[in-house]
């Protein structure tokens, strides 16, 4: 018996010891704590924090919490416990972002952005800033202003394998421009028994992204926004046409088998190893392909347009952003650090070491050739976070999962359009 008690005591003592030993030591200089989820940027952040401390004497503590799923839960939990750090990122769409602001967790950065006749604001890509901006009269009821600082930029578009293009008898410098040309290539791919396009379409947001590009191309931005506002139903012929493109691509042999249950990392691995002709992926892929197959020859292209009425648009602009905690004691220091972090030199360092596109316009010279191809299309980018309205998540899910059903030939585009509209009506009927 005595053994148990002795053991229990030892255990308790150890616990107390561990608990106390790890209490953080207090210092008089402020320490800025930053929570983030960006595993790949951790070494670069640590180095930048070291430089900042050498320069100003202020310690910056980057705390990494990966994967992003767990990170976003942590941020939400910390918001409830009012224990958010000085600087943090919110991994969420605009509606949730606005909730964080309403709950008083996010500092309005507009005065800092506009100080010095807008020096900070003007150094950053407007498209990247727009993601964190609320315009006058926005639907979320947020005081207009900028609430976050972008630290990098990205774009999601199509890539093609130049070697496989040659094998198909195509000019590797001339990717298809129209959907018709695209479909013709599909026939060749089928004949040669190759694999067409790979993408992470098991993670449905990438389907959503692809479909939205074509929605903008076929019906224009205003009509898409009107649909979200509920003025136009999803059963509109233009929407059915968008859905129909997926059926056409599937029939033409343009989609790799298994694309509907493919996670993006698998898609990247297939494309990097030359097993697929096309990929639909974000600018981060440059780094991924470089690691898996440095010799891969590929090009960047816009999705081939299906209509001449409106320009083709891709998702982009939104990279990763940081917010300042409105309740933090070190607000001023935190803002100053973010200003330093988005300065030309630091942005160039980040771009160079992590192969991400910088948020600072003046740092572009440090970017690799292929990444520059992504930048070139930056003018044609949009992002749901800048539309000013948000579609109901249930509707987005029905739309994206519906596209999966079309690809596996379970349902027709017309059926899906009707189903999506039904869910839209249900969500609209709910009192919120």
């Amino acid at each position: 018996m005595r053994k148990i008690y002795a053991f229990g005591l030892t255990l308790c003592a150890t616990l107390v010891f561990f608990g106390c030993a790890l209490q953080s030591k207090a210092t008089d200089k402020p320490t800025i704590t930053i929570w983030h989820w960006m595993t790949d940027r951790e070494p670069a952040f640590t180095e930048l924090a070291r430089r900042y401390e050498a320069k100003t004497g202020i310690r910056v503590n980057f705390e990494l919490y990966a994967p992003s799923d767990a990170y976003s839960q942590k941020v939400r939990a910390a918001a409830q416990g009012a224990t958010l750090p000085d600087i943090f990122g919110i991994l969420a769409e605009k509606r949730d972002f606005s909730s964080f602001i309403k709950a008083g967790h996010v500092l309005d950065l507009t005065p800092h952005m506009d100080a010095d006749s807008g020096r900070w604001r003007n150094s950053l890509f407007a498209k990247a800033l727009a993601v964190n901006e609320f315009n006058p009269g926005n639907k979320y009821g947020i005081e207009p202003g900028v609430y976050g600082v972008p630290i990098d930029v990205m774009a999601i578009q199509m890539l093609y394998n130049k070697g496989l293009f040659k094998k198909l008898g195509l000019d590797p410098e001339k990717p298809p421009l129209t959907f018709q040309e695209f479909v013709e290539i599909g026939k060749k791919i089928k004949a040669q028994n190759m694999q067409g396009m790979v993408s992470g379409w098991a993670e449905v947001w990438m389907i959503d992204c692809f479909a939205n590009n074509y929605a903008f191309n076929i019906m224009g931005k205003d009509k898409v926004i009107d649909t979200i506002k509920g003025k136009i139903p999803y059963t509109d012929p233009d929407w059915v046409k968008v859905l129909g493109l997926f059926k056409e691509m599937q029939e033409a042999g343009l989609l790799a088998t298994g694309v509907v249950t493919m996670v993006n990392k698998t898609a990247e691995q297939l494309f990097a190893n030359g097993k697929a002709v096309f990929a639909f992926n974000g600018s981060w892929c440059v780094n991924v392909y470089k690691g898996m197959n440095p010799g891969l020859k590929y090009g960047v292209m816009m999705p081939p347009r299906a209509s001449d009425k409106y320009p083709m648009v891709i998702w982009g602009g939104a990279g990763s952003s940081f917010m300042v905690n409105a309740r933090s004691k070190n607000k001023e220091e935190a803002v100053r650090f973010l200003q330093w972090l988005t300065d030309k030199e630091q942005q160039a360092y980040l771009a160079e070491t992590t192969n991400n596109l910088p948020a600072n316009k003046e740092s572009l010279s440090k970017v690799s050739e292929i990444l520059n191809e992504f930048v070139r299309n930056m003018d044609n980018t949009t992002h749901p976070n800048v539309w000013g309205v948000s579609e109901f998540p249930a509707v987005i899910e029905a739309f994206d999962k519906g596209i999966q059903s079309i690809i596996i030939k379970e349902k027709t585009p017309e059926q899906i359009a009707a189903e999506v509209q039904k869910i839209k009506a249900r969500e609209q009927a709910k009192k919120r």
Partner: protein, 292 residues
């Protein structure tokens, strides 16, 4: 004296009850309360909707019920295929057999392996274009069976269920083995002296004595399989469409995707309630079986 004895009995369960009350009951009541609100998980204000969330789950949310059906199907495969396999292997390893220590070690590898590895390996085996399984099928002269196992709605769910069973049978194996080991050897000796053959002593000794352990394994299988999701994310992400969607994925989707925290809580509670009913029916049935 009586009082002191009762007090002593309570002392046995006191530590468990204490930890349980603080770390389970309090959060549980909180979740129960949240289940009656429409709340995005962030805002300081919540909208009270009473039993509205529960009503929506039970009468409107068709996808939720499809996900329940899918989980039920996977559980059915686990209860039959996985547990029979686990029991047979445990029986085999309970005998005096060559290499039994080796097998006992090997069968526990799948539960130990990370879902990341399991997902990657099985994707490679099942891939529609470059997969090993299709390669073997073609090689053995059955090219007509070769197809994309995970993205074909006909086979996706069954494939997921079989991989899940494979990952999980090690636990059943381990508990069955522990159960078989506690059966006193003398009983078998006595039966042999009485002239019983192997089959008879299996039927008269092993089976009756293993019923409680079997019930235990079955309940743990139901709970483990109904709540499975990590492997499913790694293999199909719930797709194609909703063909491999399971309840926990739906709960996570409500929480993160749709930011309906209250609804997610209500889904979790409804799910738990259903599991509880199933498990207790099973428990009652088997305790009756034990008495016969």
């Amino acid at each position: 004296m009586k009082f002191k004895s009762t007090l002593e009995n309570y002392l046995f369960v006191l530590p468990a009850v204490l930890i349980f009350s603080i770390f389970y009951i309090i959060p549980f009541l909180w979740v129960f309360q949240l289940g009656m609100y429409e709340w995005d998980g962030i805002m300081p204000t919540k909208t009270f909707v009473g039993l509205g969330n529960f009503k929506e789950i039970f009468f409107q949310d068709k996808i939720w019920w499809q996900s329940m059906f899918n989980a039920g199907y996977i559980t059915f495969i686990a209860l039959t295929f996985q547990n029979i396999l686990a029991f047979l292997l445990a029986l085999a390893c309970d005998r005096e057999i060559k290499l039994k220590n080796f097998y006992r070690l090997i069968f526990f590898i799948p539960p130990v392996l990370s879902e990341v590895v399991v997902g990657l390996v099985w994707q490679w085996i099942l891939d529609g274009n470059y997969g090993l399984l299709n390669g073997w099928l073609v090689h053995l002269g059955f090219p007509q069976f070769a197809h994309n196992w995970l993205s074909d709605p006909q086979t996706a769910l069954t494939t997921v269920a079989i991989v899940h069973s494979w990952k999980g049978f090690g636990w059943g194996f381990l508990i069955f083995l522990a159960g078989l080991q506690t059966i006193p050897r003398e009983l078998y000796e006595a039966a042999r002296v009485d002239g019983a053959n192997a089959w008879q002593s299996f039927k008269k000794i092993t089976i009756p004595l293993m019923i409680p352990v079997t019930v235990l394994v079955m309940i743990l299988t139901i709970l483990g399989t109904m709540q499975a999701f990590v492997l499913i994310i790694a293999m199909t992400g719930g797709g194609p469409a909703y063909h491999t969607e399971v309840p926990v994925l739906r709960i996570l989707a409500s929480m993160r995707g749709s930011s309906r925290f209250g609804y997610a809580c209500a889904q979790g509670l409804s799910f738990g309630l259903i599991l509880m009913v199933i498990s207790f029916i099973q428990y009652k049935f088997s305790s009756r079986a034990r008495k016969i």
